[in-house]
Amino acid sequence: MQASNQSGRKLSFFGILATILVPISLYMAFVYAPTEATMGPVQRIFYYHVATAWNAFLFFGAVAVCSGAYLYTRNERWNQAARTAGELGVLFTSLTLIAGSLWARPIWNVWWTWDPRLTTTLILWFIYVAYLLIQSGGAQSERQRRFGAVFGIVGFLDIPLIHFSARLWRSIHPVVIQPDDIGMPMEMFVTMMAAVVAFTALGLWLWERRFAVESLKERVETLKDEALSV
């Protein structure tokens, strides 16, 4: 029997990390960091927007790596890891898109633009959703898992190309608004990094929990199988 994740009562390493870091970053984002001159308090979303965006791409990388490991070893646990990473990836990508939208409305007066980074994120979202579609369903055939794994890797490799083409396309029509803050005061930068680190810990913790649940589910299935085949 596995020890740590079964009890569910104890917090794992990432759990502890997240529990400490998230409140700290909350404090930093809302109290410590100065209010931005032009945009006002709304700008504070930015810290979490960056954090969730970072997580979105991080987890996609995780999907690709775990899928690669699965194809190489054919050990189903890798595919489970990939799948759960994919779920979290959808979560964080959705959060990124929503937060971005909420930020855009008061600042730019639009809910959406076809800015290259937004476009890429949106397509990333589609790819994640497609990935989950493939990986859905309890009883997966080996072929289905392989299909999902290949897709995960190909999708990941494609993202830079997609982003590049979105930027190249966009350069035809001048972009009115530049969302980038090139220079920012030290406090803001630190706050941003804090949020990124905190959310990375949070994300990893969620992944760990989700993976544990999936493992348990699979054990139940196996036990059921064994009971029925006797």
Binding site: R74, E76, E218, E221, T222, D225, E226, S229
Partner: protein, 235 residues
């Protein structure tokens, strides 16, 4: 020639074939019998590299993974499906396989095989029109086309009429004389008796008994008989 040690197959956490030792010497033919779901086809598919397995498999002394291409070249496999394209003719099907197995003198070889299984007259008809027996004969031809040294046969003579069966047995006997080894999975061990050297039993994913055909008179042996009298070796 072909040696398996601790070969096991599992799907998820469920074990279909428990760690098994199995061996085929040159020219040795073994029949594998057992009830449905016992794992006969699974063992065969593992040896054919069609399903992932744990354990070691050696061909001519080398681990199969190291000499995979050479191993495949020497394998002739007959499965439940004939593995032929219904939209093509027998000739085109066999020519395809001749190319895939990089045979010299492909046309000659194909023609010879088609004659051996008595399909020469229908060689250019689309296979979709073939009867069950004809499909099976074509599958045999496909498996033997490249003169493999190891045959893995899963119910190779099902659906063929008696005349065809006689022809097939003759082909098998000839191959055996030339040093070909084979694993013959079947329910009808009586048909295989005249060709194979040993009949091995499998049940619940485990081998559990075998009989050498030259030692025991066919009429006196049956799997039930063997189970009751503990004839043969119990692992």
């Amino acid at each position: 020639m072909l040696v398996a040690r601790g070969l096991s197959v599992s799907a998820g956490r469920r074990t279909i074939l428990w760690p098994t030792d199995f061996e085929l010497r040159p020219g040795e033919w073994k029949a594998l019998v057992g009830p449905n779901g016992a794992g006969k086809s699974t063992l065969l598919k593992a040896l054919a590299l069609l399903v992932p397995f744990q354990g070691a498999l050696y061909f001519m002394g080398d681990p199969v993974r190291k000499v995979e291409s050479a191993y495949r070249r020497e394998l002739g496999v007959v499965l439940h499906e004939p593995l032929v394209y219904r939209g093509l003719s027998a000739w085109e099907n066999l020519m395809l396989y001749a190319d895939l197995y990089d045979l010299d003198g492909a046309e000659e070889a194909v023609r010879a095989q088609l004659e051996a299984v008595d399909l020469a007259t229908f060689a250019h008809e689309p296979v979709g029109r073939y009867s069950r027996g004809m499909l099976q004969r074509l599958a045999l031809a496909r498996a033997l086309l490249h003169r493999p040294r190891v045959l893995l046969l899963d119910e190779p003579i099902t659906g063929i009429d008696d005349r065809g069966i006689e022809d097939a047995i003759a082909i098998f006997a000839a191959a055996k004389r030339q040093g070909v080894s084979a694993l013959w999975v079947t329910h009808r061990w009586d048909r295989a008796w005249s060709v194979v050297d040993e009949v091995v039993q499998i049940k619940g994913g485990r081998l559990h008994g075998s009989v050498r055909t030259d030692e025991v008179e066919k009429a006196r042996w049956s799997p039930e008989h063997a189970a009751a009298k503990q004839v043969g070796i119990d692992p």
